[in-house]
């Protein structure tokens, strides 16, 4: 066996050990992939979200690259400004990545995100979706799925999840993709592809949170895999006006090959009180999102 590592060198050096994430946190897993693609040639724009906690406090930062912490609603606006500034100064080969949670994207940052998408500013927006406001104490966000317990929906959320990828596809941006932390190679390829396209790129990253979803920290990857295998999260890319299904989700176009949804839900304490009717609702939500994807595949 050769002594050269089979991993990109920067994957090991980007997220430094000793950061402030909880046990089994999916965010550093995602950031490692960002590091594997861009190395330290990246400017990370982080609004108020779990990542601003994970990266630590003032004298140090756990991300071996440039990070700018900004106000909650302004991630996309600041990233637009930075990418325009870099372009004007003639700096090439540095990628601007806005890295925001679901609250900073689907709820609070929606206006600036929509503005940046409409202007087609040149940067990558990554929304990592842990499906609630986790670091402030697990409050519901609009990306929380129906039936899930949070501290502000103690009986389970009644409304269904807001699908931000659909909203971004409607903006007509050049590249929209969904990824999952359980498939880092898939996420790597999508980031690489996005880096080669000029204009606004949006990547949705599914990131199960052990604390907020009430499962054991060791199961983070397993739960993320099950989300894809049950069809709850569909991995696809959208470019040239068409949806292209990614490898892990391709066999699941056939409904009989999807695992039953209950296998995904049973690991999570937040779905313990789910009723039979709510389960049916979730199943029909999954079916309808697959139907929607199939419509855009032609």
């Amino acid at each position: 066996m050769s002594s050269t590592p089979t991993l990109p060198r920067d994957m090991r050096n980007t997220v430094l050990p000793g950061h402030a994430a909880c046990h089994g946190c999916p965010i550093p897993m995602g950031l490692k992939v960002v590091g594997a693609v861009f190395g330290d040639k990246v400017i990370l724009v982080v609004p108020a979200c779990c990542t601003s906690v994970v990266l630590g406090m003032h004298p140090g930062t756990a991300f071996n690259g440039s990070v700018i912490h900004v106000a909650f609603a302004s991630a996309a606006a600041v990233a637009s400004g930075i990418s325009a500034g870099l372009f004007k100064r003639g700096v090439r080969g540095v990628q601007v990545v806005a890295w925001a949670g679901d609250g900073g994207t689907a709820d609070i940052g929606m206006a600036s995100l929509s503005g940046a998408a409409e202007r087609n500013d040149d940067f990558i927006y990554v929304m990592y979706d842990n499906e609630a406001y986790m670091n402030t104490g697990i409050q519901r966000s609009s990306a929380t799925p129906a039936g899930a317990w949070t501290t502000t929906t103690p009986l389970g959320k009644k409304e269904s999840k807001k699908d931000v990828t659909k909203i971004l596809i409607a903006h007509g941006v050049p590249y929209v993709a969904t990824a999952s932390i359980a498939y880092p190679h898939d996420f790597y390829n999508k980031l690489k592809k996005a880096a080669g396209i000029r204009g606004f790129k949006f990547i949705y990253l599914h990131a199960p949170c052990p604390v907020g979803w009430r499962f054991d920290p060791s199961l983070t990857v397993k739960v993320a895999k099950l989300a894809v295998e049950t069809g709850m999260i569909i991995l696809y890319e959208y470019y040239d006006g068409k949806i292209h299904i990614s490898g892990p989700s391709r066999p699941l176009l056939d409904k009989s090959r999807r695992r039953p949804l209950i296998e995904y839900l049973k690991f999570q304490g937040r779905f313990h009180g789910i009723s039979e009717g709510e389960l049916r609702n979730l199943e029909s939500y999954v079916d309808s999102s697959w139907e929607w994807v199939k419509k855009f595949m032609q």
């Binding site: 066996m1 050769s2 002594s3 050269t4 590592p5 089979t6 991993l7 994957m11 090991r12 997220v15 430094l16 050990p17 000793g18 950061h19 402030a20 994430a21 046990h23 089994g24 946190c25 999916p26 965010i27 550093p28 897993m29 490692k32 990266l55 630590g56 406090m57 003032h58 004298p59 140090g60 930062t61 756990a62 991300f63 071996n64 690259g65 990070v67 880092p184 052990p210 054991d216 920290p217 060791s218 199961l219 983070t220 990857v221 397993k222």
Partner: protein, 97 residues
């Protein structure tokens, strides 16, 4: 450099954070379960290193997976993703620093 920017620089030193290891202290003290690698079973597939959230397990090409116990939080993701079941979680004898 104009006088104005010189003055501004001397007045306001911008506190920039630098990348450093251990921003949250020695996170190894958070651990109550400890991953132990059975190197005879390790196939050097790099799965543990790819998924480790703390970046504190690394696969050495000749030896196998090595855990950095100073910063490992003991979440158990490596033991869960290991296809060869070479990593087992053992309870710590001593808790805290």
């Amino acid at each position: 450099m104009s006088n104005l920017t010189k003055k501004a620089k001397s007045l306001h030193k911008i506190p920039i954070a630098r990348p450093s290891i251990g921003v949250a202290g020695r996170t190894g003290t958070w651990r109550w379960m400890k991953p132990v690698v059975d190197l005879s079973k390790c196939t050097k597939c790099y799965q543990c290193e790819i998924y480790c959230p703390d970046n504190s397990i690394s696969v050495e090409a000749l030896k196998g997976a090595v855990v950095n116990y100073e910063y490992c939080k003991g979440c158990g993701v490596c033991a869960e993703v290991c296809p060869a079941k070479a990593i087992s979680m053992v309870e710590e004898e001593q808790h805290g620093p």
